[in-house]
Symmetry: C2
């Protein structure tokens, strides 16, 4: 049985806008020794799989500054204070990044982006009957192209590495589980 480590101290080291960095001092329950760990504090994130009436998924292409490459992803972003519920953030990011709205937004899973050093969660939504109602609204640092793809093509993209964002892959894992539950007629777990 693995035990929790008691937190002895926590010091804020830096503010990098999308997260703050903290040094936490914790006590090992196994050895009784103290260790320092760096932890990033961030708001929760959301991402959303928008599916059109024709069964296509709305994907976005954007330049990503971590890898320095243009990626293919689903819409997503940070839950703002004003959003309140993460499903509101899902609808907002869908509109901002693609100009699409949806009839229904269903929570299909929640993951921890990296429990080793991030303290937040990423909530995944399925947006049904997604349809374009206006042009996307970019903030100064965004530049997004929108594409609709069917699920067989998306499977190929995940296998050949064109879709590689771990949170997008995790979203499709939960989408597949959601579909399997629907087929089995079983109740949703979450």
């Amino acid at each position: 049985m693995v035990k929790k480590w008691q937190k002895l101290a926590s010091e804020k080291l830096a503010d990098y806008r999308i997260f703050t960095v903290w040094r936490d001092k914790r006590l090992s329950p196994r050895t009784g020794r103290e260790h320092d760990f760096f932890v990033l504090d961030s708001n929760d994130w959301i991402n959303v799989i928008p599916v059109t009436a024709e069964g296509k998924v709305v994907l976005i292409h954007q330049f990503r500054h971590g890898t320095g490459q243009v990626t293919i992803e689903i819409p997503g972003g940070i839950v703002d204070l004003e959003d309140g519920d993460p499903s509101v953030a899902a609808r907002r990011e869908l509109m901002e990044e693609t100009g699409y709205v949806a009839d229904e937004v269903i929570h299909i899973g929640t993951v921890e982006p990296n429990p080793a050093f991030l303290n937040n969660k990423c909530h995944t939504y399925l947006a049904l009957n997604a349809r374009r109602v206006q042009a996307p609204q970019f903030d100064g640092a965004e530049d997004i192209a929108v594409e609709e793809a069917d699920l067989a093509e998306i499977r190929k993209m995940t296998e050949d590495g064109r879709i590689a964002h771990a949170l997008v892959i995790a979203a499709f894992y939960h989408f597949n589980r959601y579909q399997a539950r629907q087929l089995n007629g079983s109740k949703l777990i979450d």
Copy 2:
């Protein structure tokens, strides 16, 4: 067509052991304006799905300092300079964290943990005929319990949130795709 942003400058801000933080200045190809972005530089990571001869998957329980909770995961870690190939890191972490070895280690997928602000990749391996040969070897900050679970139980754990690490969920996505390809008798893409 989304264009790449030209990098104008890059400044190292901090070294947090598991990653360094950089401020990159880049030029928007859409607006011609400069923007600053925070980027974490990290070695690549690996994780590994160890499957025993009986078809069980080897899971680990450990305290995670980002979320402050005990998680259920598959073995994984950072590719060290001495590892060279990431498959070597996969075998090393499997041994260190569980005390298991495997006959064959197969690359089944690679993801980008977060292309928005991390520059690294995470390589996922399937380890076949995994078996315990010794006790795990913990470093000072580790305290790990090992569990074997069958795939139906793991599916449940991903659905009820007991398994929530995004990179672990992504690993099982690629494991499912690998199994589907094996069933179809098609050639591996990667």
